[in-house]
Amino acid sequence: MSQLSVKGLNVSYDDLRALVDVEFAVEEGEFFCIVGPTNAGKSTLLKTIAGLTHPDSGTVLLKGQDVTRSQPKDRNVSLLFQNIALFPNLTGFENIAFPLRTAGVAESEVTSRVKELGDMLKIGHVLDRLPKTFSGGEQQRVAIGRSIAKQANLLMLDEPLTNLDARIRTVLRIEFKEIHRQLGQTVIYVTHDQVEAMSMSDRIAVLHEGRLQQIGTPDEIYNRPATRFVAEFIGQPPMSFLNAELTQVNGAVGIEIGGIRFAMPGIGQTKAHAALPDKLALGVRPEAVRVAPAQSPETPHQAEIIWVEHLGSMSVLDLRFGHDTLRVKVAPNNPISAEQTAWFGFEPRSDHLLNPETNLFFR
């Protein structure tokens, strides 16, 4: 029985539907990420699981027990808010000790526990001061200390690293993974930064406008996206989409894009290939396209370069291909830089065929 199971969750404020039929489960000890653009409903989901917001319908089960209507204090979950929410009138020590003292833990044990956390998170020196004197990193660490002071079924983190600079972000990411591994703590980590989600999670749930787009491992999410939104949201520069039509290529089923025919070896396997509509779209990852200044067996097709972005560690070429733009990722030292024609080639993947009406990939 999973640590957390959410079924048919609907939450709305006045006429805005914040969450629509959200359903997923998180296993014990898993590092589960929820990623999506701003106001996709991520914070609302966390607050509903924590009990601060009541859903219109749906259930929240913690270790099999229905807690949908119960008080936050009876759910034994811990939530780290995005704006940290340290108690401004309590010192660092009192903030971390708060959950323990509220639970009536003996003062001696509280002191030792807080000291232990202080050393672990390297914030021993700030414990006797008020939050307004802390740096960004220190505030974050004291908040983490408070959220793991008492053992909880679930530790939820709401975009904890957004307003910190790169160096501290990397260090804290390592620390979150440490806590997860050391305490065997089940973690739900919410972020709008897709790299953070891809780098830290066992499984990812992509949320957009209150609807769950897809749940899967980082590899599944990246290589076999379920919807157009997931394909464009995960991965920088985003996947490009080319309008394509079904045709015959020397006897086998293939597709035609901008007048050029491509064989689709994998297409036979997909059960639904018979039901493919004529009009469909092909998703192509920028790094899957090979490009060269001259024609060659690997780069048989010609196209005009309309724009080049030099980003230091890589360059991105925008090629006009039929009526669409094809983004191509090249190494920084690639000779093609000026506006000119170029030759490119790629192998279309059968699991990247998209139905333009439903914006769902064919599986």
Partner: protein
Amino acid sequence: MRQQKTWQTVLKRTAVIVAAVFAFFPIYWLISTSFKPFDEWANWPPIWLTDNPTLQNYRIVFFPDLAREFAAQQDGSLDYKVSGSAWNAFKGSAIVSVAATIISVAFGTLAAYSIVRFKTGGKNYPFQFLTVRMVPPIAVVVPMVVLFSILKLSDTYFGLILAYSAFTLPFSIWMIRSFIDDVPAELEGAAMIHGMGQFRAFLTVTLPLVKGGILSTALFIFILNWSEFLFALVLTAGNVVTVTLQVANYVSASSGKLYGVQAAMGTISTLPVIIFGYMIQRHIVRGLTFGAIKR
């Protein structure tokens, strides 16, 4: 921002000075008259600044027998209403204002908390409190006199306290509501997640942070109660005397002839309001606009 020409700034500063003079002059006249001896009260041409100030008027206000003696000298009998000492009026106003403020702020805090955190009564519920404030008091005071006579509340401290509390509740609910809104809800959320019930979280987390706001609201409500006049005039008949009543009595009793004494009473009665008013200067706009506009 734009480089203003000097004559523009000079013009602006003089306009401000003129406005300041207009704002200050009436109060200046009240205070200066309160120090004028009897013969300079209704002098023509009026004396703008007396050169022999006296505290005589203040003594008369506070010691009625002195007032009677003075009246005898001026061969006019002093009206019975003003023969009472100002202490009685200050005592009355203090009791009523403090008690009514405590009730109004206490009930207001509970109601405001329920409205903000629980959205009790939906979006429009708080507005029905505003309509109470929109009602002209005179329209309600007529039947209140009747109600108070039935309940034996007329001319009692408790009656006036009840009336003042009811009529200042809209201010305290809306003002405290805007202070509670300023405290991020996540703080209370954090307390609840770490083991507290909703109300206990409010008491331990939000209330301490809102203390300053509640104190300002209390001062604001106190000023409203201290300055109230109509209810005091209609719902009392001599046993309960408030400061505003005492001032009005001076004006009506001697058809305004006792200028010096009248000015003295006016000056001291308005002193607390000035002091408390400037203590909460920042929140006056928030108060008078029911929390709609904050500095």
